[in-house]
C-alpha cells in the first residue's frame, strides 16, 4: 500500500508533463486543453492525497467521481476527464 502511494505521488509529474499538451478540436481558438492525467494531479490533491488509478475498479471510480464532483464542487469538464483517465489507467 505504501508503495502505491509513493508511486502515485511520484508518477504524477512525468504523466502530467507528457500529456499536458493535448490540442483541442480545431473548431475553436486553438486552446490548449489539459489532459485527464494532469487534471487528476492538480485537482485530486487539493484536500487529501490523490488516490492512484489502481486503487479502485471502474465501477467504484464512477461512484467516487460523482461523489467528489458534488463534494468538491468540481466542474463537469474536470470530473469527466479525470474519471476517464482513472478508468483508463487502473
Amino acid at each position: 500500500m505504501a508503495s502505491i502511494m509513493v508511486a502515485c505521488s511520484s508518477n504524477k509529474k512525468p504523466i502530467a508533463t507528457d500529456t499536458a499538451t493535448e490540442v483541442a478540436g480545431s473548431e475553436v481558438d486553438f486552446k490548449i486543453e489539459k489532459s485527464g492525467a494532469q487534471l487528476w494531479g492538480e485537482v485530486c490533491n487539493r484536500c487529501h492525497i490523490a488516490p492512484s488509478p489502481a486503487d479502485y475498479n471502474d465501477t467504484d471510480w464512477e461512484t467516487i467521481s460523482l461523489h467528489m464532483r458534488v463534494r468538491a464542487n468540481l466542474t463537469e469538464e474536470e470530473i469527466t476527464k479525470i474519471e476517464s483517465f482513472l478508468k483508463s489507467a487502473n
Binding site: V70, R71, N73
Partner: protein
C-alpha cells in the same frame, strides 16, 4: 472425461462471469476510523489515555449518473457509553452542467474545514483548530436543501453553494446558565418558523487549481423558540477561507496551506444569572471570532523512500468569545506535527500542541494546556 469436465467448467465459468457485469446502480461501503494515545497537562494537572477507536462507516449509493445518496454514521466511545451519530444523510441530483441539488442532512459549506478537511484521514493534525467542533462558532451540518455548482472561466474556476436549513437554537441559559447566548448548531430540530440561509463562493484564480479563496455567509432572523423572549434574536456569520496546494520543485515536495477566519454576530439579548437565589439580568455584545492557518510540507520528490512518506505540519489558531458572557474566552493555540503516511488514506500522526486560554467556562485567569498526541487514522 477430464476434457468434458473442463469443457463444462469453462462454459459455466463464462456464464458466471457475465453476472459480474457492472449493474446500473452501484453501492459502496466506505468510511474511516482512528485511534490513538493522548497525554495532556492542564495547568499542572496531568492525564493520559488511549483513545477508543472511532469508526465512521460511509454509505454511497449511486442510482444513475445524476442521482446519488450519501450517508455517514459515527460510532465512538464516550467514557463507557457508545455514542452514535448521523454525520450526514443526503440525496443529490445533478440538474445540469452547473447545478446540483442536495437535500437532507449535509455538511455545510461554511468555509472549508468542516465540509472538506475534518475527517481524521484528511486533517493533518489530530485535533481540530479552535472554533470548530464542540462549542465551536462555525456551523458544521444541518438539515435542509442546497444548490451548488461550478463554472470554468477559461482557466480560473468559480464554484458556489447556497442553502436553506433549520438553523441553530440559541442557548437561553435555562439549562446551562454558563452557556447563555451560545448558538447551538447541533440542535437539528427546528425551534421556530425562521430558517437559516447561507452560502459560499469559491474562486480558483490560477489555471492549475492550486489556489482557492472562499467567502461564506450565514444568516437567520430568529434563533429562539417561537413563543420565547429570544424569538427575535437573529444571527449573522461570515467566513473567509484559503487553500493553496502546490508541488514546488526547488523544495522537492508539496506545500499545503490552509486558513479560515470565522466571525459570528448574534443580536444582543438579556440573559439571567442566578446569584444567591436572585435572578440578575445581564447582557453583552455577542460577537465571537476564530482563525486558523496551517502549513504542511511533504518531501515527495526526495530520493529517500522514508522521507517521501513524511509530512511536517504547523498550525496556529485562536478563538475569541464575547466579553461579558459567562463563556468569555480568549485562546491561542500552536500545534506541530510529524506525520508518516502508510498509504494515501492512512497516516500516523505525532503532535505537540500548546494552548493558552484566558477565561473559559466559569474559570478566571489563564490556563495553559500542553498535549502530546499519537493518532492513527485510516480511510477505507
Amino acid at each position: 472425461m477430464t476434457l468434458i469436465i473442463l469443457g463444462l467448467g469453462s462454459s459455466a465459468l463464462a456464464q458466471t462471469y457475465n453476472t459480474f457485469e457492472p449493474s446500473k446502480t452501484q453501492f459502496m461501503l466506505r468510511g474511516y476510523g482512528h485511534t490513538g494515545f493522548e497525554y495532556l497537562d492542564t495547568g499542572g494537572e496531568q492525564e493520559s489515555t488511549f483513545l477508543g477507536a472511532t469508526f465512521a462507516p460511509i454509505f454511497l449509493y449511486k442510482h444513475s449518473d445524476k442521482l446519488m445518496f450519501e450517508a455517514e454514521l459515527e460510532f465512538e466511545l464516550e467514557g463507557n457509553e457508545l455514542k452514535t451519530g448521523l454525520e450526514y444523510a443526503d440525496v443529490m441530483y445533478v440538474l445540469n452542467k452547473h447545478m446540483t441539488v442536495r437535500a437532507g442532512k449535509f455538511l455545510l459549506p461554511f468555509g472549508t474545514f468542516m465540509e472538506r478537511l475534518h475527517p481524521a484521514w484528511i486533517n493533518r493534525l489530530p485535533s481540530r483548530p479552535l472554533g470548530f467542533g464542540h462549542d465551536g462558532i462555525a456551523p458544521a451540518s444541518d438539515i435542509g436543501v442546497e444548490l451548488r455548482g461550478a463554472f470554468d472561466l477559461g482557466g480560473p474556476k468559480l464554484n458556489y453553494a447556497v442553502y436553506v436549513t433549520n438553523g441553530p437554537r440559541i442557548k437561553d441559559g435555562s439549562e446551562e446558565p454558563e452557556e447563555a447566548g451560545m448558538l447551538d448548531f447541533g440542535y437539528y430540530e427546528d425551534v421556530n418558523l425562521a430558517k437559516a440561509l447561507g452560502g459560499r463562493i469559491g474562486l480558483l484564480p490560477l489555471s492549475d487549481s492550486s489556489m482557492e479563496w472562499g467567502i461564506s455567509a450565514y444568516t437567520t432572523n430568529s434563533t429562539g423558540a417561537e413563543d420565547s423572549d429570544y424569538k427575535d434574536v437573529g444571527a449573522f456569520l461570515w467566513a473567509l477561507d484559503l487553500s493553496y496546494v502546490k508541488s514546488i520543485t526547488p523544495l522537492q515536495g508539496v506545500v499545503d496551506i490552509k486558513a479560515q477566519y470565522n466571525s459570528s454576530n448574534v443580536d444582543t439579548a438579556t440573559y439571567y444569572e442566578i446569584e444567591d437565589g436572585i435572578s440578575e439580568p445581564y447582557s453583552f455584545d455577542n460577537q465571537s471570532s476564530s482563525f486558523y492557518t496551517q502549513l504542511s510540507y511533504r518531501p515527495i520528490m526526495s530520493g529517500s523512500d522514508f522521507m517521501k512518506q513524511l509530512e511536517f505540519v504547523g498550525r496556529y489558531s485562536d478563538f475569541n468569545a464575547p466579553e461579558g458572557a459567562e463563556w468569555e474566552e480568549k485562546s491561542t493555540q500552536y500545534a506541530f506535527g510529524l506525520n508518516y503516511w502508510l498509504s494515501w488514506r492512512s497516516v500516523v500522526k505525532f503532535s505537540y500542541q500548546t494552548t493558552k486560554m484566558e477565561g473559559g467556562h466559569d474559570s478566571d485567569g489563564t490556563t495553559r494546556t500542553n498535549g502530546l498526541f499519537v493518532h492513527w487514522a485510516i480511510g477505507f
